[in-house]
Subunit: 172 residues, 2 copies
Amino acid sequence: MGLPTRMLRIRKATIEDVRLLHTMILEFADFEKIRHEVTITEKLLARDGFGDSPRFHTLMAEWSNQAAGYAMYFPFYSSFFGPGLFLEDVYVFEAFRSRGVGKALMAEVASAALEAGFAIVRWEVLDWNQNAIDFYRKLGAAITDEWKPVLLEGDALKRLASARLSSATSSP
Amino acid sequence: MGLPTRMLRIRKATIEDVRLLHTMILEFADFEKIRHEVTITEKLLARDGFGDSPRFHTLMAEWSNQAAGYAMYFPFYSSFFGPGLFLEDVYVFEAFRSRGVGKALMAEVASAALEAGFAIVRWEVLDWNQNAIDFYRKLGAAITDEWKPVLLEGDALKRLASARLSSATSSP
């Protein structure tokens, strides 16, 4: 399909990649202008991504054996449509852009979804990132305007949890 | 905390609840005006939610032993902030609204998140659902305008998967 496969390689990350992955995530956060808020650590990434039941999967893109980008994803569940993969991050270092690295990472995630029998891959895009929006539209993705992400954390999360009925039971 | 706990009860759904859950999901899809697109079946819900390693968790709200609403959630992973719970659905039948049912369901999910050591609960809201937006704001949730959900499915997903590098490996 025309990509220079001898130069570009996609591989699964291992626990040996945790330091590199952390660096890549911080650079991605820089790009998204929220690095000052990031709390993730190498320790958390190692615990959550590379143990017996990993909470996420990571792909590394290498260009002539140099780290060029990464993708991170995990399963999600749509009550309306069933299981799918949530592409949390896909990021390509600036020096390696416009060489098909991002598309190769996303193709790998799409392929993993189909192999698992899932019919959907979803992710999110920043509304100011027109390059990304154009790229995703070209892939045939639907960008939905009417859904807004909502986040609850910190004291507000604790306050809500304290309103739990005493008789209730739950599991994470 | 003032809720009438004798009348309102939150419990974990079991496989016996699959038919009821499917009905509730369809009613929720009606409310969200996308029932015509819904493909989920009782069989999929049973397989994915109530087996050995469930892909989602479901809570049922009962008011004086009548089904009043439900919540469905699963773990997600933020590369910037670590693990959290994704609240896929929270829905209360019209006849049971304004009685604290939705808040009790969400409090249970918040509590499950904290018990698991997670610091975030996230979900999505439709931009025309002002009642929900007001309710979530009152809880202290942040509604983000700059992130747009993106979905890839069907032929477009298959087309992307076919662009996979032949040397790549992946897992769902």
